[in-house]
């Protein structure tokens, strides 16, 4: 009986996770969550373009002109470096590298140093793609380095970072559940290669 209850709970959790993943798709179920991207660029022209690129890719966009403003919105206190829970909730941050005041790299570091913000994937854009700069950003925790000018194909690829976060989240839940209640089960759930957006546990239960 206990085992069945556990399976039901796992199923419910998987359904919730699937809803979250579906929220990341462009064909959204009504009422489910859109991918929210925070775009940071000091160039007015580039902000307009990136905003449009993201909206066309079915993302909700908040565009700001500086790293400082971005951190403010995310609820980070400049002095303490601590982010409060009232900050803007975003699924991805895309930032220009070369900006006056705080560079994109400095913004990246601040986000990755924050316990509450570090899970947010950060992508860096730059017109200059010297190996040193790319390495620096990737080593600093950026998911990707995009060479400007940004294209629609670049943006369409970015959505997978938000999906991956949710996928990893699901993986962690199901791995834990399996470990707790099915100790003899050696195989943690893996994603079927045919459909990367639906976890194996969901596919199995449907």
């Amino acid at each position: 009986m206990a085992r069945r209850g556990t399976a039901l709970r796992a199923q419910r959790k998987a359904r919730r996770a699937r809803k979250k993943i579906e929220g990341c798709n462009s064909k959204r179920a009504p009422g489910s969550k859109e991918v929210h991207v925070l775009a940071v660029d000091d160039s007015l022209v580039d902000r307009k373009v990136i905003e449009r690129l993201l909206k066309i890719s079915s993302c909700k966009v908040t565009a700001v002109d500086s790293g400082r403003r971005a951190l403010q919105l995310l609820g980070m206190d400049e002095q303490s470096g601590h982010a409060d829970s009232d900050g803007l909730k975003v699924d991805l941050i895309i930032t220009d590298y070369y900006m006056p005041g705080m560079t994109g790299f400095e913004l990246l570091k601040k986000i990755k140093e924050s316990s509450s913000l570090r899970e947010i994937p950060v992508v860096v854009m730059s017109s200059e793609n010297t190996l040193a700069r790319v390495d620096r950003c990737l080593e600093g925790g950026a998911e990707e380095f995009i060479v400007k000018p940004v294209k629609l194909s670049d943006v369409k690829r970015l959505r997978s970072y938000t999906n991956r976060e949710v996928r990893n989240h699901c993986r962690r839940i199901h791995k834990r559940k399996h470990q707790e209640f099915h100790q003899e089960d050696p195989q943690p759930p893996t994603l079927p290669p045919s459909d990367p957006l639906i976890p194996a546990s969901v596919a199995a239960s449907s």
Binding site: S43, L44, V45, K48, L53, I56, S127, P149, K151, L152
Partner: protein, 151 residues
């Protein structure tokens, strides 16, 4: 050929010559891909914004070129911004002049900077005229499949 088709043909020819003559590049096409029924004038809006916004950068560069001695770091930084926006709208010839300007900054060649800057302003002004004419004709022609993102 009826009037509307004539217009569309003219618009297409004008557009093609902008590419053939090297005034615009692939990035312009990227912007066109972002145009649709909900945003039918997106490219024109971005170009208008570019000309408005970059005007102040040009003034800043002019002021910096007036100083003595020249601050090449500052000039390079200003031109980096200008080049970025120009690149974002696909302004190919303008972008090439920006690149040249930055080379002269690296070489600390003031004369080269000034010459290139004058050349850049010419290209910038020519492109503006050409694009204004193009957008005006495109508006007259009305919406066409070519102007919108393929569904």
């Amino acid at each position: 050929m009826d009037q509307r088709n004539q217009f569309h043909r003219q618009v297409a020819l004008m557009r093609q010559s902008l590419f053939d003559q090297g005034y615009i590049d692939e990035q312009f096409v990227q912007l066109e891909e972002l145009q649709d029924d909900t945003n039918p004038n997106f490219v024109e809006e971005v170009v208008t914004l570019y000309y408005r916004d970059s005007a102040r950068l040009i003034v800043s560069i002019e002021q910096a070129l007036d100083k003595s001695p020249l601050d090449f770091n500052k000039l390079d930084s200003l031109m980096h911004q200008f080049k970025g926006s120009s690149s974002s709208i696909g302004a190919r010839k303008v972008k090439a002049e920006c690149t040249q300007f930055r080379e002269y900054c690296k070489a600390e060649n003031g004369e080269g900077c000034m010459r290139t800057f004058q050349q850049m302003k010419k290209e910038y002004a020519t492109l503006k005229k050409r694009l204004e004419a193009y957008f005006q004709l495109a508006r007259q022609a009305g919406p066409s499949q070519a102007a919108s993102r393929p569904k």
